[in-house]
């Protein structure tokens, strides 16, 4: 008993805070509030809890690209590293507003119009806006509950042709069904590098899909994929259409390959772990294993058995 007491007092508050933060950051999509409630009960220390939550929530929110509605319902803002103006302020380029968010409560507290310095130049905005319009069309077709946004990641002050710049498309869809013990999320991050000299746009996509089912168990899907493509540097409208086509193509292909992975499970992939039935296609003869031990001996003698 005394050993256990020593261990408890040997954990510093900082260590406890790091542990709490780890649990919070590893929460599946849509579950951080539940995890926070449980870790608070386990810690029984409000100070450590508040410190952990203050550090973990912003990181989690950005990683999961959570979407918050403006208080006046004029639109939404996606919390991400690309939209971050300050640690509690996030830009929505579509409505040109900056939202102030409470990370721990996961709400948008208020919004203000964005300053000129926070917005891209009108040259960049032409490209951003055209792409945004096409992406909105795509996302509303492909995702029942998806949100999207386009940001300028680099070169937002470029005024005219002659320089490189980079736009980032974020697509995020989440489904939370805690009453059905099931949650999931799809996150896409597409980097579009506009290269002036070569007159091409290089595309890099990162797709991440997760799902969690936990009715009397705990099963999670964690799938990731990266892809590349490119297209010609054209007018804003033409670029928007061809870039969206690229995104649509890759994301559809990825969904198909996920489905293929799932359909391979029962008979192929899972079989490498455990067969449904022995090769004999009958249940194991528990009362009559003599024949098997003989077979094993013969296999061993003939050196047919792989080493165990």
């Amino acid at each position: 008993m005394s050993d256990e007491e020593e261990t408890a007092s040997q954990l510093t508050d900082k260590q406890k805070m790091e542990i709490a933060k780890w649990f919070l950051l590893n929460s599946p999509a849509g579950e951080i509030q539940y995890v926070a409630r449980d870790i608070r009960a386990v810690l029984k220390n409000e100070r450590v809890y508040r410190a952990a939550v203050a550090e973990a929530f912003p990181l989690y929110n950005k990683a999961h690209m959570i979407c918050l509605e403006f208080p006046d319902r004029s639109g939404e803002v996606i919390v991400s590293s690309f939209s971050e103006i300050d640690k509690n302020e996030y830009l929505d380029p579509r409505t040109a507003q900056v939202a102030r968010v409470d990370h721990v409560k996961q709400v948008c507290e208020d919004a203000r119009p964005a300053n000129d310095e926070e917005l891209p130049s009108s040259y960049i905005e032409e490209y951003r806006c055209a792409l945004d319009a096409e992406i909105i069309k795509y996302v509303s077709e492909a995702y029942p509950k998806g949100v999207c946004s386009v940001y300028c990641a680099n070169g937002k002050d470029v005024e005219e042709p002659g320089s490189d710049f980079e736009l980032v498309v974020l697509i995020s869809a989440a489904r939370h069904s805690p009453q059905n013990f099931c949650n999931g999320s799809w996150r896409s991050i597409w980097h579009m590098e506009f290269k002036d000299e070569l007159q091409i746009v290089e595309v890099r996509g990162k797709l991440q899909v997760g799902a969690h089912y936990f009715e009397e168990g705990n099963v999670q899907l964690d799938a990731k994929h990266e892809c590349k493509d490119s297209t010609i540097f054209q007018s804003p409208d033409d670029c928007a259409v061809s870039l969206t086509t690229i995104i649509r193509h890759h994301e559809t292909e990825y969904l198909n390959s996920l489905q293929v992975s799932y359909s391979n499970l029962p008979d192929t992939t899972f079989k490498d772990l455990r067969r449904k039935l022995p090769v004999t296609r009958t249940l194991f003869p528990w009362h009559n294993t003599l024949q098997f031990s003989l077979t094993r001996d013969i296999q061993k003698n003939l050196g047919l058995e792989s080493s165990k």
């Binding site: 608070r40 969690h212 999670q220 990825y254 489905q259």
Partner: protein
């Protein structure tokens, strides 16, 4: 403790070892509860006498040593560790031999161990364990998996024999993880753990081993099917809800 179990249900299964040691350091006063209720991937040691591997668990452990079911010796050696009675040891030997064949048949490789010891109520408890590494570098026959593991723990409490029947109470846990990785579809990882119970009263005409074996076989098949169809199926359903397959989208769009 309830909050701790809640956390374990949400933690990504591949991190369950880290999560458990974190909880043990935060809640040392609950360590025996945590260790008995949270399943962990199985470890193995090699028996020095027979060269065969055996699985480690709380049921063959004394202090920091583990008893091998093949040689009945503790590794590292102990002066006064507990051993099953001669009668139970006989049953244990037979169980290990038969279970190893069962393991071969279903797992095409993999390691198995059975441990049996006395119970307070004149019955006994048996623990059947299986550890399979299905990665293509290990025992994955079809080479599909970059990483794959199946760990099963079956604990059966057998009551005393009365009127030629006995009561069997089985608690089974399966932990599994599988990862495929290729250029066209990236990394695909499914992992998880489930636990179930089954109670039966059976005639001992064919012996305890036969009864226990059949229960375990039935339970494993149920768990495998459940994991495959229900659990993995639900995650697939979720993915298709997030982004329905294009055939459905095409049906919704008018011809352009």
């Amino acid at each position: 403790m309830e909050a701790a179990m809640g956390l374990m249900r949400r933690v990504p299964p591949k991190h369950s070892e880290t999560a458990l040691s974190a909880l043990l350091s935060l809640l040392p006063q609950h360590s025996s509860d945590l260790l008995s209720q949270v399943d962990q991937p199985l470890q193995v040691l090699c028996d020095v006498d027979s060269g065969k591997e055996f699985i480690l668990c709380e049921y063959n452990r004394d202090a920091d040593s583990y008893r091998s079911p093949w040689s009945n010796k503790y590794h590292p050696p102990l002066d006064d560790g507990p051993y099953p009675s001669a009668e139970l040891r006989k049953l244990e030997i037979e169980a290990n031999d038969i279970f190893a064949i069962y393991c071969d048949q279903y797992y095409e490789g993999g390691i198995s161990s059975v441990y049996i010891w006395e119970d307070e109520n004149e019955g006994f408890v048996a623990c059947f364990l299986i550890k399979k590494d299905g990665a293509k570098t290990a025992h994955g026959k079809r080479g599909c998996l970059q990483e794959g593991s199946w760990d099963a723990i079956h604990v059966i409490e057998v009551g005393p024999v009365e009127d030629e029947t006995a009561r069997y109470c089985l608690t089974s846990s399966v932990m599994l993880s599988l990862t495929t990785n290729n250029d066209s579809s990236g990394t695909f990882n499914l992992s998880g753990s489930i636990r179930r119970q089954m109670n039966m009263e059976l005639s001992v005409a064919e012996g305890h081993l036969c009864n226990m074996g059949k229960m375990i076989e039935e339970m494993e098949s149920k768990l495998r099917n459940s994991l495959d169809q229900v659990y993995f199926g639900k995650t697939k359903e979720m993915v298709c809800t997030l982004r329905p397959p294009s055939e459905i989208i095409e049906m919704r769009l008018p011809d352009s």
